[in-house]
Symmetry: C2
Subunit: 125 residues, 2 copies
């Protein structure tokens, strides 16, 4: 084991909080971070390929935890819902992303490591 | 919305397969990719900060799906269990990591975007 890969909990990635580390949440939050001016509910649904019900449920949870804000208004004379990431949500999401970045770096560092070979003196089970 | 962020499903991240995208699995697989010669069960437990039962359960599932192999043998005169990532497991995990990398890039590209401001003509709900 290389020194960089030693230590209790070195690969426990505690920062991957359950409520952010979920595919749909990840998509929603990345969309919103990439569009700080906010996205219409319909845009978000399309970008994340989610159903109305699914997106509603996730947005509700993210609103509860203070990560997104939801606004009602009109666009092109039609009532619309707009979702925006909050300042706190943005900060928390970027902390989470820093942990993901560590995962990617850990894996990339190992990508060109030696191939596996048969093991002498060990029995497969 | 910038052009790079448009398109149906642009943020759906379909490659984040449920059986890899789980904190403990991610830790186990990154540890094993970083140590292609294999890790003892006890080392893996320590690196990922997992209990015996938890690690056993995850290793069992990863073995079932052909991503890891498990060997019995002796080290320092004591019976030990060794886990190694398979060639197929490695390939599949690196595909998954490429999607994570895309998430990190999407978020990083947006990191320095404008701050949120009050919205005129919209009502918070």
């Amino acid at each position: 084991m290389s020194d960089a890969h030693k230590g209790t909990g070195r690969f426990s990635y505690d920062g991957l909080e359950r409520d952010l580390h979920e595919r749909a949440r990840l998509g929603i939050l990345t969309s919103l971070v990439a569009n700080p001016e906010g996205l219409l509910f319909t845009e978000l649904k399309d970008l994340c390929a989610l159903t109305d019900g699914n997106l509603n449920r996730h947005i509700g949870k993210l609103k509860e935890s203070g990560m997104v804000e939801v606004w009602k208004g009109f666009k092109d004379n039609r009532p619309q819902t707009l979702c925006r990431i909050t300042k706190a949500g943005r900060a928390r999401f970027l902390e989470y992303i820093a942990v993901l970045e560590q995962v990617v770096e850990d894996a990339a560092a190992a990508e060109h490591a030696q191939k596996t070979k048969p093991l002498k003196g060990w029995t497969p089970i």
